[in-house]
Symmetry: C2
């Protein structure tokens, strides 16, 4: 008997029919004699619909109240999936994040899981139940319902797998696994059978969107094998696990995948005084407001010295502008611009470490095709470039071909 955590995303439970199909799949896993804990996201577009509703009332709703609102989406899914499992004759029970013992810190809308108290989960498993847990949410020490940020259900799934010492964590999604690029953009993209935690992490932060980066970090930290696979087929998907480095170097591609992140805005602050600590004041203010900054370049503007440019997510725009209106004069800078017509294109691959010239090849490919690269950032196994949004998909296709990913 194995203990398996299965996580189903919103598109897998988008309507009654799909929920019934997920129930069949979960029941089949239980019928094989496994203990099963299921983590589900909100149905289909529920989360977006709730955000739209809130925005009709306020352009800047309080995050505490947004957590209260958003947590309902997952709560609906768990009840409906439990009903579907019971309809199949299975013993099943739904638990909200707080009921499942998922504890978080007190940060509204972007809480981090601090602990999972498994008492209730173990009790329900021992009673022979399939336990259906609401992803994306937990209880903070001050008794509030907190959400983990977009895609947080992946993190809930992996955290439960860690806490319950599960043998496997399956992440079900609407695609067959992790691909060399988004198949909607690159028709020749193909599924990757196995990927290392580090590569997956870079792919995820680069916008590949299959797994939330935090869930990959957590899986890496505790060595949880994650199987990313399709809800709609029985095919084997992509296994995320510790990479066999030697094998990678010998047999695998230098570049494993090309990712595209459209959720990018570029912010430039101009005429920043050339004093020690000015940049740190700016980024401290951003950090305190819980705005995640991705790429940062100082003095990167051709015409003006002392400018600071960085990127962040589009959903931060209102909060960001509010903050910059306050902070930019305080640090003695003159003005700032926010531009949202840009995207981030990244290449990822563990093989990069020992293959010099990969970044150069990327820049050449882009510039040969007339792209202006607005920002660059690199890590050991990733190179990212900010380009204009309207040609970003084209850049992904060009890089997919340039790095020999078109042939399977």
């Amino acid at each position: 008997m194995a203990r398996i955590v299965q996580k189903f995303g919103g598109s897998s439970v988008a309507n009654a029919e799909k929920i019934k199909n997920v129930a069949k799949r979960v029941a089949a896993t239980a019928d094989e004699g496994n203990q099963v804990v299921v983590v589900v996201s909100a149905m289909g577009d529920t989360t977006d619909d709730l955000i739209d509703l809130a925005k009709q009332i306020s352009l800047d709703p309080s995050q505490r109240e947004m957590d209260m609102l958003m947590a309902t989406g997952e709560q609906q899914s768990i009840a409906l999936l439990s009903i579907a499992l019971q309809e199949l004759g299975k013993k099943a029970i739904s638990l909200t994040g707080p009921q499942a013992g998922i504890h978080t810190d007190c940060v509204a809308s972007k809480a981090k899981i601090t602990e999972v108290n498994c008492a209730r989960l173990e009790k329900e498993l021992n009673a022979g139940n399939i336990v259906v847990v609401a992803g994306f949410q937990g209880l903070s020490p001050d008794g509030e319902i907190r959400t983990l940020g977009r895609g947080g259900s992946d993190t809930s799934g992996v955290a439960l797998a860690v806490a319950l010492k599960a043998d496997l964590c399956e992440i079900f999604t609407d695609v067959e696994g992790v691909f060399t690029a988004d198949p909607r953009i690159v028709p020749k993209a193909h599924k990757i059978d196995s990927i290392s935690y580090d590569e997956m992490l870079e792919m995820a932060s680069a916008g590949a969107g299959v797994l939330q980066p935090r869930s990959v970090e957590l899986a890496k930290q505790y060595g949880i094998h994650v199987h990313v696979r399709s809800t709609f087929t029985q095919n084997k998907g992509t296994i995320v696990q510790e990479g066999n480095k030697m094998e990678n170097l010998e047999k695998e591609m230098v570049v494993s995948g090309v990712a595209l992140d459209r959720n990018v805005i570029k912010v430039s602050v101009f005429d920043v005084p050339d004093e020690i600590g000015v940049a740190s004041k700016l980024f401290r203010a951003l950090a305190d407001a819980r705005i995640n900054v991705d790429m940062i370049i100082q003095g990167g503007d051709r015409n003006r010295l002392n400018s600071i440019t960085f990127t962040t997510g589009k959903d931060e725009k209102i909060k960001l502008e509010k903050l910059l209106n306050d902070v930019v004069p305080k640090i003695g800078a003159k003005e700032y611009t926010v531009s949202d017509g840009v995207s981030k294109v990244s290449i990822v691959g563990a093989g990069m470490i020992t293959n010099p010239g990969v970044a150069a090849k990327m820049f050449e490919t882009l510039s040969d095709n007339g792209f202006n690269i607005e920002l660059i950032s690199t890590s050991e196994i990733k190179v990212s470039c900010i380009v204009k949004e309207d040609r970003a998909a084209e850049a992904v296709c060009l890089l997919h071909t340039a790095f020999d990913l078109d042939k399977e």
Copy 2:
């Protein structure tokens, strides 16, 4: 400074625009220097939509999971109303039923409030917050989210008014108050300015639908003044309070109102053995299954002796038939019929007690107009008759005229 509990029903918060209007109304009450606790129901048809969704998955979903599902409707409303209040510059915080300290028994879908622990509520009020509480829900001792049954938000509102020693409980709805009959059925129906708890209770159980009977019982028990009024106008509605008996007898109508309840099914069990305890076995089984039985007649069928006939709500039909298939053979009865083409018409009035002949006048009015009365039940201040559903509205109009309610 007064302490006021305001309850807004689902139609009052059906969309973003309506929620903003409710927020203005609540804010105005707070601006007058009052402490305000707001109780809200789920938006518009949310509850019905959630039930439909569950029914697409199972015709007989577990009530524990239905509670999990339904509790989300109110949770969405409280978050959105708090956001709307904050947008108006007010301090506001939403609390789920469990967070607000509303404790219930362990009966899924029909839980009763056992206690309200006001610690968190008082803390938030003292911090200057308008507190927005989810109606219809609470926490049972086993850590489960329970709902109070349809219309339970009224009961939440009154229970909070009791626990917080509020000066007033305002129940906002989509009508101007309690009417002598449903104005959609009786065009000449008019608003009642003041009604006693007992009359309101009978009106409510007779299907007048403005207040949940349990909330009226609770208000009566603790002497809470309830003001039933319109969300959409500033008009004075109907005050529900202890009746001034003398005044009632001298000045008021013998009959205060005529109510219609379409949510009725009539059940007859035939050839019941003539033994002691048989009827009690049947009704014990119904009670154990938490099926509320309304009118009961034994031996009331012309053609067969030893039959038992009773009425209950339409929503109990599936559960009821399941139970009767099991219980009817067990008590040695031969068969049963369930008929749902019937409605209950009631006349209510405190003046009835001292005015003999009211029931007789009701029966005459109906029979003179060709109605076959299928069942009758009476209380001190109410007479109810079961008639065919297709002419029930006509019966209400006839009785409204017969008891002099057409003139204001």
